[in-house]
């Protein structure tokens, strides 16, 4: 029983770490094919990481601990989130700690660490990127909190495992107005949090338009590898969380090895499908003007707020 739970946590973290670059590779490949290009293949991000990890570590003159710690902190917080969130199983030794507020705080910690690192470099781009990232984060974090909060009202708990198992046992909840609104709000927030179109363009080379990339311009070698891996892991975890909350079927609610194995396969499939859908949608989107981004995020916040309201009234409590 305990062993299966531990195995589930381990499997979640390993799957996220190993699969995140493949997810990024799949998304790039989908985009390339839709644009009529051959594309570099699904494992290209792993090749890039291998190349970067072999390079010599270089830090710019004048940077302090904030710059050096940030990549590690980013990867570590995301790995902890990957362990906590019920991606494959709701019965794990840590499921009691899988609190929604803790998860959002951990994600925010990673964002803030990178922003501080951007400021630490003292370059105009670091500062500019950090300022933009914080503007976006300040609008995104409340939306994520509120959206998941709306989902937590029927369960009466902010524990993610409880919310997800509630969804499995009572699927009507997911299709309720509150559930759908919350899922929509969460989806927009995930786009912004992971720096995808239409908020940020992950494939741009134009340094002045960058948000996330501007912040990490000074990183090189193994540090850059960690930053890239961290960003890819965040995308994988957030898409996984979105899948767990909106389509929780298949997630193991009992401690059986077969259920866990099925859950892991389904998780991979769901995240790959979501990622591919996102990549396909991105082909048809363009990047919003920076000053329109708050409007988009305010809209998603409003959806989350409506979800909470609807959840409150429709459950009649």
């Amino acid at each position: 029983m305990k062993a299966i739970g531990t195995a589930a946590v381990t499997a979640q973290v390993v799957l996220v770490v190993a699969g995140a670059p493949l997810l990024a590779g799949t998304m790039r490949q989908v985009r390339a094919r839709m644009e009529g290009r051959a594309g570099p293949g699904v494992v290209q991000p792993w090749r890039d990481l291998r190349k970067l990890l072999r390079k010599e570590a270089i830090t710019p003159i004048g940077t302090g601990p904030a710059f050096r710690v940030a990549p590690l902190l980013l990867v570590a917080t995301t790995a902890v989130v990957a362990a906590l969130v019920p991606l494959a199983s709701t019965v794990t030794p840590v499921s009691g700690s899988a609190d929604l507020i803790l998860v959002v705080a951990l994600l925010a910690l990673g964002t803030v660490a990178l922003a501080l690192a951007g400021l630490d470099t003292g370059t105009a781009f670091g500062g500019m990127g950090a300022s933009r990232e914080m503007t976006v984060a300040a609008l995104v974090e409340p939306t994520i909190l509120l959206a998941v909060f709306a989902l937590s009202i029927p369960t009466g708990s902010t524990n993610l495992s409880a919310i997800v198992s509630g969804g499995i046992h009572d699927p009507v909840r997911l299709a309720s107005p509150a559930g759908l609104l919350a899922t929509a709000a969460l989806a927009v927030a995930v786009l912004a949090e992971t720096g995808r179109l239409p908020v940020d363009n992950p494939s741009t080379h134009l340094e002045l338009t960058m948000v996330h990339e501007a912040m990490v311009l000074e990183y090189a070698g193994p540090d850059l590898a960690l930053v890239e891996l961290g960003a890819q892991m965040r995308l994988a975890v957030l898409l996984g969380l979105l899948a767990s909350l909106s389509a929780p079927w298949g997630i193991a609610t009992t401690a059986s090895p077969a259920a866990l194995a099925l859950a892991l396969v389904l998780l991979t499939a769901k995240v790959a499908l979501l990622g591919s859908a996102l990549a396909a949608a991105e082909v048809f989107w363009a990047k919003l003007r920076l000053f329109r981004v708050p409007e988009l995020l305010a809209g998603s916040f409003l959806l989350a707020l409506l979800a909470v309201t609807a959840s409150y009234f429709l459950t009649g409590e």
Partner: protein
């Protein structure tokens, strides 16, 4: 094309120039010449001001002779902004001092050129090793609450030419932008000296790599005027075709790049697909993807003629592309109202090409200084809003106009090579000529002087439209936000190489 030449003294210059400018002429080019003892007027520094207007095509030159020991000129900067820039260029390259210039800073001068060394001076010799830089050259600091600076370049993240941009920013809004270019001085004007017209052609084609036909044609027209060569009618028609083919492939690439800069990559992929087809067509028509070698002094050559059906298919694809881009709400929102250049600023700065036409000026050398009778097929699209959308639309409409011209020219074009031989010149005699051409980026002006039997080039001066348009970029960007700079820059798409010869 009538070209009147008037020799005047330096004191008369401001008055004569003012008269011409009031009369509707624009300053097309200023070129300095170091005349030796064998020159007709004896040793002197001779500055030529070329004014042009049209239609009818009128070119007026004012020649001012200066003391070669201490060349000094009254400035025209208060009459014409481009004149002030040409004067700074002359001071940096020739050592001619514009008196009372309102902005007496260096322009072309490279940071590390030795003090007192002027590359275009006859005694300059080979380029000396880089020496101590000539004093500090600080940027103007914008002071105030919350103002910070963003330095960008000269080396950029993408594969683009070098230029340093210094933004003074509050929040995300640009208060002031200073562009410092001039990192690519190649000495093309100096390299031209002493060449025969045929050997000068490859250099002219490479002034700006994307404008091979435009620069080659301006150069050839100037050489032909100087040598009194009449170009066959077929060659003129072929040249008109080549000029439009160049406009097509560059404008299509720009439409795609503008979409790419707002993150809409799929339209860029499609545009580059169309561009590739156009480049392959260029290869078939001229034997070179960028159309080099087709325009030669005295004529032109075509290996094949683009088929009308094929051009129509490409035209439809480009039309679809424009419709898709303008139908996308986010793309349209990003383009609309971004980086406006109003008509007064465009006129004062002397803007040319699609930048001017997007701001309401209808300047086009194909109507003002035609080398070929285009007939009614030529339309010059003009928009008045001066924003990125207007520059996008002007390009899209110019593509339509170019396709119509190509179709019309196709009817009477055949494959062949039509070149009139340049008549040998009189030994020791000098001659001059000017060429004005509407390249895809705008009006290109080239002036040549040659001497002797084999028409040895003694001086070639080229003014690329980028030289006139660069100062408009910071003006358009005032009060624009920093993340919109790359989009604006692409909508201007100015040449660094053509600007800094």
């Amino acid at each position: 094309m009538p070209r009147t030449v008037t020799d005047i003294g330096p004191d008369e210059l401001p008055e004569r120039a003012a008269d011409l400018l009031v009369d509707g002429h624009r300053l097309a080019l200023v070129a300095a010449h170091h005349d030796g003892p064998s020159a007709p007027g004896g040793p002197a520094v001779r500055v030529v001001y070329l004014f042009a207007s049209g239609p009818p095509d009128t070119r007026t030159e004012l020649h001012v002779r200066l003391d070669p020991k201490a060349p000094e000129l009254p400035t025209l900067a208060h009459l014409s902004f481009p004149a002030g820039r040409f004067e700074r260029e002359m001071r940096d390259l020739h050592g001619i001092v514009p008196l009372d210039h309102p902005l007496p800073h260096r322009l072309v001068r490279h940071f590390h050129w030795p003090r007192g060394w002027y590359p275009m001076h006859p005694d300059a010799g080979p380029p000396p090793p880089f020496a101590e830089q000539e004093g500090p050259y600080p940027f103007l600091e914008v002071e105030g609450e919350g103002v910070y600076e963003i330095p960008v370049g000269p080396v950029h993240a993408g594969l683009i030419e070098p230029g340093h941009f210094r933004f003074s920013v509050v929040g995300e809004t640009i208060i002031k932008l200073k562009a410092r270019l001039w990192f690519v001085h190649k000495g093309i004007e100096k390299l031209m000296e002493g060449r025969t017209p045929d050997r000068g052609l490859p250099l002219a084609e490479r002034v700006s790599g994307d404008t091979a036909v435009g620069h080659a044609l301006a150069y050839c027209l100037a050489v032909e005027e100087a040598t009194g060569t009449r170009v066959p009618e077929d060659a003129r028609r072929a040249r008109a075709l080549l000029l439009e083919l160049e406009r097509l492939h560059n404008h299509v690439a720009d439409l795609g790049a503008l979409c790419n800069d707002v993150g809409h990559g799929i339209l860029n992929a499609r545009a580059q697909h169309v561009r590739e087809q156009l480049l392959r067509l260029n290869q078939e028509v001229t034997g070179h993807r960028l159309l080099r070698g087709a325009v030669v002094p005295g004529g032109a050559a075509l290996c094949s003629v683009p088929g009308t059906a094929r051009m129509r298919v490409l035209g439809r694809e480009i039309g679809d592309l424009v419709t898709l881009a303008l139908g996308h709400t986010t793309v349209r929102d990003r383009f609309t109202g971004t980086a406006r250049l109003d008509v007064a600023a465009a006129r004062d700065l002397g803007c040319l090409g699609y930048v001017a036409r997007a701001s309401g000026l209808s300047a086009d050398a194909r109507t003002r200084h035609p080398f070929h009778d285009y007939g009614p097929a030529l339309t010059v699209p003009v928009h008045t809003t001066g924003d990125v959308l207007a520059r996008f639309l002007v390009r899209a409409e110019e593509i339509d106009s170019s396709l119509a011209l190509v179709e019309e020219l196709n009817e009477r074009l055949i494959t062949g090579r039509w070149v009139a031989n340049l008549a040998p010149g009189r030994p020791g005699a000098t001659a001059a000529g000017t060429g004005i051409v509407e390249g895809w980026r705008g009006t290109i002006t080239t002036r040549v002087e040659l001497r002797g039997r084999d028409h040895t080039l003694t001086r070639v001066k080229t003014a690329d439209p980028s030289f006139f348009n660069w100062p408009a970029l910071p003006v358009a960007l005032a009060d624009t936000i920093v993340p919109d700079f790359p989009l604006t820059n692409k909508s201007f798409n100015l040449s660094y190489a053509g600007n800094d010869l």
